[in-house]
Amino acid sequence: MKVMAQMSMVMNLDKCIGCHTCSVTCKQAWTNRTGVEYVWFNNVETRPGVGYPRTYEDQEKWGGGWVRTKRGRLKLRSGGRLNKLAHIFSNPNLPGVHDYYEPWTYDYDMLLNTPAGEQTPVARPKSLLTGQDMKISWSANWDDDLGGSVETMQDDPILKKMSEQVHAEFEQAFMFYLPRICEHCLNPSCVASCPSGAMYKRVEDGIVLVDQDKCRGWRMCVSGCPYKKVYFNHKTGKAEKCTLCYPRIEVGLPTVCSETCVGRLRYLGLVLYDVDRVAEAASVENEHELLDAQRDVILDPFDPEVIEAAARDGIPSDWIEAAQNSPIYKLIKQYRVALPLHPEYRTMPMVWYIPPLSPVVDVITGSGNDGEDARNLFAAIEKLRIPIEYLAELFTAGDTKPVDASLRKLAAMRSYMRGINLEEGRDESIAQTVGMTGTEIEEMYRLLAIAKYNDRYVIPAAHAETARELDELACSLDYEGGPGMGGPNRFGTSSGHPVPVAVENFHALANRQTSDRSAVTGRVNLLNWDGNGSTDGLFPPDAHGEVDGEHLEGEHLDADPRGGGGVGDHGPGDENRGG
């Protein structure tokens, strides 16, 4: 037994309202750069739907993940090492940018600088690939809330596996959201696909990362990942992926997507697992046994033997303690309500999901019955085979039993807790029907419904004996490629040494203050004013014809009547405070 720690996530799909806050904040933090305009490390899909990139779950087409050979060994679906090298000049399974979507921006300048005229100016969409006008016809969540689903839903690879009649019924019955990030798998096929060895799994916390200095842009990881969560930066020519916000995790903070989730549906924590048994577990013959095999690889952090082995393998004691307090361990192993996404890819994913019960509840209440009554709920779970089969295709390789069990536990929790709230007493029989005790159900309820920040995110800080090299500490003006050295980008975008943040900010600010042109004379843009001195056009020129902050103290407070709309009512003191 070799014990390793893995930072993992569980998402409670019942609570997801599909608001995309996680996606947007993640994008702002990580992929608001050129070359990754089309990239969403975190995206939220409406299911049923085709997903992002389109139909990524169809591994017959994309060739991601592992398959088990007849001899019981694992092999990359898109071919082994020699095969990979033979296709290195043209990867046959690589999704193109258009399989994600063509990124665009709008010609906002038109809105600001069009001279007054009869027509209202419009901001036309411009392709970020060619800079030309484009027709927007797809995006990362084009089929959001089943929008346009008549056109696209039949392409959902999961629905395709199900029968025609199911298909039709499904459309009316069932919809839920699936937020996705990188799975940080225990057996990552992207890492295995990387010819350069640039991708790696971190020993300390299991986060899967790309070494940007070692990546050579062979693109095999993009096609190797069955979840399509490794992306190709088309400007730098390197692979990028969700980092599980490791700079935050290292100091004990949750990821940006978790932190900003308005539904508070994400849980973060450690699990300990036996790395020696991963390969064996990933290659069990029956796909339906993969879930249990993966659960078995995860070790009990309270077991004295495990604690001893963990200490021997260099896991610090506060990390073992964090693993014991981990909400992930509780949801995966203790309550067994969380399930992995597509275990049949055999990558042993470590972002798990609690399947949504709410659609089932909706069906019951929609038919005029009591949606919180245990018997109604159990009967509905029994009867609503279609949504359950769909969930099973997502989370258990098609085995409905674990989905069923998980939903029953959620249903039991619902009616058990209602009993308490209506002061009908604690009905132990409800708990027993799902193999739990009343106390356990209450604990699970606390974790799923009202857990506080510190209960949802149990993240031990990394042990850094040396302080990280901070960008600012290393900053000086004589960095390579700096002033006087010809500048970076000699070999294409982003090549060469990075520019220190301070220098970059200095130029950005100077640029903002000087470059903005104004088509309308006298217009003042206070956003471009840094608060020092005065900005052009804010005050009329004084007797000497110059605009100077020092002259503002006293007399010239009457504003130019043409310019700067309500600005004239304020004295300079107000503006200075505003800046």
Partner: protein, 253 residues
């Protein structure tokens, strides 16, 4: 020995070799982040699917052919029973096939680079310079093969050009050997030397990243977070904010 042939067949090759070696070391230390194939497959795959493998496999064959023809003395091949006729026929047939493959591949790739908008916008100035020299080298090499070997009487470069290459490598340069070679061969060699000179400053550096080690390493790579921090280099962040490309650049001036 005239000064011109001294310059062209001794000074220039050594200068190029020096720049080639020092340049690569410098580039690797200065610009690991920029060291990439800069693949454009995500933009366009229909043409690349044909052009790229044709060009790359073709040029690998050309490379092997050059290694055999230039580095192995003909006496060694005579010794194992490969006489001049056998060598000539083999080299001409394989060489012509590889040249055609490579050139057709390159034409497809350059056509693609010029006509597919996103690919053209992702082309750097250095790429364009490199294409000129790469294209010229291939063109004159093919021209020499066609005019002398395929349709001509055959020119035994293993008595002049090959010993010259080896003489350069062994630091006992014999420029007079190269000075008497036919013009096409001379231009080919000069273009190639210039290409070697440019090599470290272009995307051609990816040749040295051929991932052969992939065949021998375990599938899953584990790495400690402290390992890659232990170096002395500063934490890097290479990125640009999103901006729409300028469509003017798509048009010919």
């Amino acid at each position: 020995m005239n000064p011109l042939s001294m310059l062209l067949w001794v000074a220039f090759p050594y200068a190029a070799a020096a720049v080639f070696i020092v340049g690569h070391i410098w580039r690797y230390r200065y610009d690991k982040f920029g060291w990439t194939t800069r693949s454009s497959q995500t933009y366009e795959n229909r043409l690349l699917r044909w052009g790229s493998p044709m060009f790359h496999f073709g040029i690998l064959c050309v490379l092997v052919g050059h290694a055999v023809g230039l580095l192995i003395p003909q006496e060694w091949l005579f010794a194992i029973g490969i006489n001049e006729t056998m060598y000539h026929i083999g080299a001409t047939v394989l060489g012509t096939a590889a040249a055609v493959f490579t050139l057709v591949g390159l034409v497809i790739l350059i056509y693609r680079r010029r006509t597919v908008g996103p690919v053209f916008l992702a082309t750097t100035r250095m790429d364009k310079v490199m294409y000129v020299f790469l294209g010229a080298t291939l063109f004159f090499g093919t021209l020499a093969t066609f005019s002398y070997q395929l349709f001509g009487t055959g020119y035994n470069y293993r008595e002049t050009i090959s010993p010259w290459v080896r003489s350069i490598i062994l630091f006992q340069p014999q420029p007079e050997l190269m000075a008497q070679a036919p013009l096409f061969f001379q231009i080919h060699a000069l273009c190639a030397t210039a290409l070697f000179l440019l090599w470290p400053f272009t995307r051609l550096v990816h040749v040295f990243s051929a991932p052969v080690q992939y065949l021998f390493r375990p599938y899953i790579v584990y790495r400690s977070r402290d390992e890659h921090r232990s170096g002395t280099r500063a934490t890097r962040r290479g990125w640009d904010p999103v901006a729409a490309p300028n469509p003017q650049r798509l048009r010919r001036p």
